[in-house]
Symmetry: C2
Subunit: 409 residues, 2 copies
């Protein structure tokens, strides 16, 4: 089998109706997603602008050049082929955003990951799920809460999502092995972390799934954990915190849940116990207080108890065509004008790029705000931002934000 | 000194402006309050109807007779004198509802106790107070929370009210000895319970107060504790629960707090810890989650976070003239018609009494509802209810309720 032949995604579940992508387009999309400075937002924008990943790949160098980077090279074909080969070796399947097997709740978040690797029966990703996360150094009481909650929610038919970490995460996975659990990895799905959870990960992969948006073989580092947490909440209808301290990754997961319109829930703890400070804070902020599975179901069935302040509405990089019933036909180039004429922006575009950079500081600000201050048309502004992003001069965090990129080390 | 000379109440605090009661009227009010079947509601009604306790005492036998009890005898003079003598011996002062020294927040509750006995500097009862109550079998963590919270609230100038029980109560009192604490007793103020808290009670009485609505010398029994809890919440701006189980006296105190329009607050605990089930339930119901003193002050400064459903408005036994700036002049008989003509209700009244009794079952119901079903005038209905109460055939729990009395054992 050629390594250039991507593994077919699972699309046998009921309700699957999306036209499958060709093998070459799947490979091109993987290359596009893995190209330098192509984040989820730029990936989506490029696909919409050029209709296919192959055409977007061709345009990348000139776009980056317009942004100020003349030596831009997209992810080479060999790199993508090697990743697919590694995935095959690990028994993983690749699922692209827009494919029928893509987790439906994850597809609804802002900037869904373009590429997922999954070990285990990927159908589980379409079942309703609740995330349980918490302290690595959890108390015996906290671990018991995690087990009891996970078992009861699992027996009620819901999948348990967590992060394979020590403590609460592992307890939640273990108690849901029989009913189905999904572990979201901070590195590649073939890099089990922490190493002592190898057997647990293997058990999860038998009936549930290991999942990651990272390339195969990528070692997890601390900077990956927030992205991992964003996936945990994105896969679930709600997140339950157990023994989360005031500055903890679990609390970040809850924050993502709110950003994503999911329910944030927390098990309380004694005020004098620092392990539960984040949980108590979240409950004070309005999150549902969770004592047992019934409380979780009640929180998920009612109106949301806690919501973040609405971020400023974003008219740029509008991802409407990506939500819901995505179809590759939407990407016909005809919708976007004659792309053969496209060679990056002109001199006026370069001036706009300089203007944008001058408006940016070390703190992320709203794209809309910068657009207003520039006074450029949405189309001009979007293009200039895309070019700057590809050139590595800005970053585009989730939430419609823009920030100057760190200078290269 | 004659034992018939009641001890003068403290009325030296700023803002005192009420005309003092005569010694004979104070003694008569004590007799009225201690007479059989005269609860707080009937006490208030009788005082308003007859202007003075002396005249009310005279009318009691004929009223009870109209209700079906022909052998009614009010509390004898000697009984009241003996109680006052016992109070003197214990170094306690008597404070009657309506007197300047009466705790202002307690005066605002539904059916405030007519008589209070206080050991210690009673001025403390006019300072703003927070109640802290909780489990007798509290954990080390719970006791620490009680101490920390009590100390910090006390140092901020608030009095700590509690119930002198083992566990959380004792810890809260102890931590507030230096700043001021009030212990509400379930029996007479001269009956320390539990006995091992004799030294703690003595310390409290030096800078704070022991307080009770029970007659001097009365031994506390389990049926007194709910009444004690009603006083704890009534004296405070809010009640903080620490380690209260789902069916606990502390939770009853919180319920009273809500009934009385006070803030109900609770320190959370781990879901698997049965000691904190009541706290977590209360927070789920909307009570403020308390981690520290700042959270308490925030809860007390804002709008109420939790309120009970409004009970049906009550047009009977209207106690308006008792609230706020009560003055003995309000009790002039002229406001209520010629009471010399009053000798209980006539035959029509007896028929109404029978009708009321037929409408009552073992569960308390709203007075208003029974009044509507009877179709009698408010004046007729109020009188019939008063007579039935004095005759011991009904009870009138707080909240505008009426219930058939248990048959005598």
């Amino acid at each position: 089998m050629s390594v250039a032949e991507p593994i077919a995604p699972p699309d046998t579940q009921p309700g699957a109706h999306l036209a499958p992508l060709s093998s070459s387009e799947r490979l091109a999309r993987l290359r596009l997603a893995r190209s330098v400075n192509v984040g989820p937002r730029t990936y989506a924008y490029l696909l919409r602008r050029f209709g296919t990943a192959e055409r977007a790949l061709e345009a990348l160098p000139s776009l980056a050049d317009a942004g100020g980077k003349s030596d831009y090279v997209p992810c080479p074909l060999a790199g993508a082929e090697a990743e697919i080969e590694a995935g095959q070796a690990a028994g993983a399947v690749m699922i692209l955003f827009g494919e029928a097997g893509y987790p439906p709740l994850l597809a609804e978040i802002d900037l869904p990951p373009p590429v997922l690797w999954v070990v285990g029966p990927a159908e589980i990703l379409r079942r309703p799920a609740v995330a349980i996360v918490g302290a690595r150094n959890a108390s015996a009481l906290g671990l018991r809460t995690a087990r009891n909650l996970s078992r009861a929610i699992g027996e009620a038919g819901q999948v348990i999502v967590s992060g394979l970490a020590r403590g609460v995460d592992a307890a939640a996975h273990e108690a849901a092995l029989a009913t189905g659990t999904v572990a979201v990895m901070a590195g590649g799905v073939d890099r089990i972390y922490p190493p002592e959870h190898g057997r647990l990960a293997a058990s999860i992969g038998e009936t549930g799934a290991l999942i990651s948006e990272c390339p195969m073989g990528m070692e997890p580092t601390s900077r990956h954990f927030p992205r991992r947490n964003r996936l945990i909440s994105g896969l679930a209808r709600g997140v339950v915190l157990i023994e989360a301290a005031t500055r903890s990754g679990s609390l970040i997961t809850a924050r993502f849940a709110l950003d994503q319109g999911r329910e944030a829930m927390a098990c309380p703890g004694a005020p004098e116990d620092p392990r539960t400070g984040g949980c108590n804070q979240l409950i004070r902020d309005g999150a549902a207080l969770i004592r047992n599975a019934e409380d979780v179901f009640e929180a998920l069935s009612g109106p949301r108890t806690l919501a973040l302040a609405e971020p400023g509405r974003e008219f740029l990089f509008d991802d409407d065509s990506f939500g819901g019933d995505y179809d590759v036909a939407d990407y016909d180039a005809g919708d976007f004008g004659a792309i053969d004429d496209f060679h990056g922006s002109d001199h006026a575009g370069a001036a706009l790029a300089d203007q944008i950079l001058r408006l940016l500081g070390p703190q992320p600000v709203e794209l809309d705000e910068i657009a207003r201050q520039c006074g450029a048309s949405p189309a001009e502004f979007s293009l200039a931002v895309l070019e700057l992003d590809l050139a590595g001069r800005i970053d585009l965090p989730a939430g419609g934000l823009i920030v100057k990129a760190d200078p290269p080390a």
